[in-house]
């Protein structure tokens, strides 16, 4: 095994945690049953790495097979790293009949035309997702397998999810994607997150949405535990009076954000470019440049937090469109500018 393969294996072993290592190795299928048995998973990571290095040398495995193992691990644990969503625009007429074989061939040939030394691996997952692993090289150097880019795409949908890509590699990837999927352009969807499953579910509308009906939804069960606790301190009559208002708030909150389990977004960023409006402060109002500020919301489950704010009354209902457009438009990065015609305008409508 050459040095680059050894380094790749060491990096892999650092990345893959021990509990998932056994199943990853089994799926990989490159170890014989005796070799599999000889791996003692109670040992330290360092010891395991050494053992695996020995096995790979026995089986004469190279970088190509090791990248298989990495891909298996990433596909099974997609909620790591930072994922960015892109949207393909303006499909051609034959975009909906692009099948897997055609996509694979076209993507590989287009990317290889653009980049001299590139290693591409494509794999179809059981949930119809096409996973692509790219190791980038250039005219003078071989592909760098230590910093691969992963891409996920569902055929016949306009969304592409990408992780670990540099700004130089982005236009090359965009071109290859647009040509192979038979669309005309690709743009940033302004949605990012640590969990691929979350941003995918948000864009593919795979979570439960709530629509206005004649019969509002009953309150969820966890509310009961809160209310029994609160009842110790609050009069039962107040609870009864507030019941209808609470049900209305819950209905509006669920219509804005969704019902049940929500996709786990971690942050939302609003970049505001506006004018300072306090007339008592002349120095600030007379500035020519727009007043810039950034508002960032972070949470372990941002949409759940927003929904709870609305249903408990902390945020006023009906939910402001600035918050409800996160699930509506499927983005968590917004640039808000004034609509007014100049610095002296009194009323500026926020435009997203």
């Amino acid at each position: 095994m050459d040095d680059s393969a050894k380094r790749l294996l060491q990096r892999l072993m650092r990345r893959i945690p021990t509990p998932t290592l056994r199943s990853a190795l089994e799926k990989w299928g490159r170890l014989t049953t005796e070799q599999q048995k000889s791996m003692d998973f109670t040992q330290s990571k360092w010891a395991l790495t050494e053992r695996l290095l020995g096995i790979c040398e026995e089986n004469e495995l190279a970088v190509k097979q090791l990248t298989d193992l990495e891909m298996i691990h990433v596909i099974d644990n997609p909620d790591q790293g930072m994922w960015y969503a892109f949207q393909l625009m303006d499909p051609e007429d034959d975009a909906k009949s692009v099948d897997l074989t055609q996509f694979k061939e076209q993507f590989k040939s287009h990317l290889r035309e653009l980049v001299r030394n590139v290693s591409i691996k494509m794999k179809k997952h059981t949930d119809e997702a096409v996973w692509i692993r790219i190791a980038w090289g250039d005219t003078f150097s071989r592909p760098n397998h230590l910093k691969p880019t992963y891409i996920v795409h569902y055929l016949q949908t306009p969304y592409v999810f990408v992780t670990s890509i540099t700004s130089k590699q982005k236009p090359l990837l965009s071109q290859a994607l647009v040509l192979s999927t038979r669309y005309q352009a690709i743009k940033d969807a302004n949605l990012s997150g640590r969990k691929l499953t979350a941003i995918r579910d948000l864009l593919m509308k795979k979570y439960q949405q709530v629509f206005p009906t004649k019969y509002p939804i009953p309150p969820p069960e966890n509310n009961q535990t809160i209310s029994t606790f609160v009842l110790l301190f609050i009069d039962q009559h107040i609870e009864k009076e507030q019941a209808e208002l609470a049900a209305n708030r819950l209905q509006m909150a669920c219509e804005a954000f969704g019902g049940g389990m929500l996709p786990q977004l971690q942050s939302a960023v609003y970049k505001l470019e506006t004018k300072f409006r306090d007339h008592s402060n002349k120095t600030m109002t007379e500035r020519e440049e727009p007043f810039r500020c950034v508002v960032k919301f972070t949470s372990t489950n941002l949409l759940e937090s927003f929904r709870h704010c609305a249903s408990s009354g902390i945020a006023s209902t009906p939910v402001t469109p600035l918050l409800s457009c996160i699930p509506l438009k499927g983005r968590n990065y917004f640039l808000i500018t004034d609509n007014g015609p100049g610095p002296s305008s009194q009323r500026g409508q926020p435009q997203v």
Partner: protein, 318 residues
């Protein structure tokens, strides 16, 4: 319990039970007349005349009046009861109409509790209420069919609607998709849960939704139902035929490649199903390949194109 999908073009018919009774009365008098005519023609005119003479003589001797009067009185009573029945039915219809007006008003203003004072006792009024509700539901169903079978709910004080499009396959209801549409100032889709591989934006652009919303909803329903049908068929094939291996599929279920073994010859066959028309749940093209060459099995393609996927697999095995 499975619900039946809505049938189109069923018009509500009212039953007129009193019409039947009238016909019955007519029938009995007509029958007597025809009987007499038959008797007259078979036995000869002279004998008939002599019989009439005998009858007249017996009429004179017998007190005919009471018998005739009795029969007439009986018919008068029957007609009187019939008239009362008809009058009662008219009254019922009038009461139901009144009830319907108040019921419809109650539905629109949910806070008002208008109680129409009923003169009848409580049992009668309950029955009337039920009958009024029955007619109300029949009218609602008729209106529902007129709208095209889509559930529509008014939102935002009349400035928007929420339309539900139901999908079903072989009598089983599957997913329901919703569209929230702003009606004022222009007709515009504001929110929906239609998956991204259904070309909703294209359909909206090509439709005439400013004037007729159904030009958007009908093609959308076609697409969604076809997709639901394809998805169900694919699911059934995977579940019922474990020997079938899926080589390729996509989220839209429009390109499927399946591998199966012909039972007797034990050869592997690759079957590619191409659903180019996304508004249909039957394939447009079926392609068979075995050992790299195209199969000469000619009867199979027609089978796959005319009937659904899972059924075709069952038929193939037989």
């Amino acid at each position: 319990m499975t619900l039946q999908p809505p049938k189109s073009n069923t018009s509500a018919t009212t039953s007129g039970c009193f019409h039947l009774k009238q016909r019955n009365v007519h029938y009995s008098t007509q029958h007597k007349y025809s009987q007499n005519m038959e008797v007259a023609t078979t036995k000869g005119v002279l004998s008939h005349l002599s019989r009439l003479e005998v009858q007249k003589r017996s009429l004179k001797s017998q007190p005919q009046q009471p018998g005739g009067v009795k029969a007439l009185r009986a018919t008068v009573e029957a007609l009187l009861t019939q008239r009362d029945q008809l009058r009662a039915e008219i009254q019922t219809h009038k009461n139901i109409k009144k009830l319907r007006v108040s019921m419809d008003k109650q539905c629109t203003n949910e806070e008002e509790e208008t109680e129409e004072g009923m003169d009848e006792d409580s049992e009668n009024s309950n029955l009337l209420r039920l009958m009024a509700r029955h007619t109300q539901l029949k009218d609602l169903l008729h209106a529902h069919n007129v709208v095209g079978g889509y559930n529509v709910v008014k939102t935002r004080q009349g400035k928007g609607v929420c339309v539900s499009v139901a999908t079903f396959y072989e009598g089983v209801y599957l997913n329901t998709y919703n569209l929230e549409i702003d009606v004022k100032p222009t007709v515009r889709i504001s929110r929906h849960n239609v998956p991204p591989f259904i070309p909703l934006n294209n359909l909206a652009e090509q439709s005439n939704m400013q004037t007729d919303l159904r030009t958007l909803l009908d093609p959308l329903s076609q697409h969604l139902n076809a997709f639901a049908g394809r998805q169900q068929q694919f699911k059934f094939v995977k579940e019922l035929h474990k020997s079938v291996e899926v080589m390729e599929s996509n989220v839209l279920c429009s390109l499927l490649v399946l591998k199966f073994t012909v039972p007797r010859e034990k050869t592997a066959v690759l079957c590619s199903l191409d659903y180019t028309d996304c508004t249909r749940s039957l394939p447009t093209r079926v392609h068979f390949e075995s050992d790299g060459r195209i199969c000469l099995v000619q009867k199979f393609p027609r089978l796959y194109i005319t009937c659904h996927l899972a059924d075709a697999f069952i038929k193939r095995d037989l």
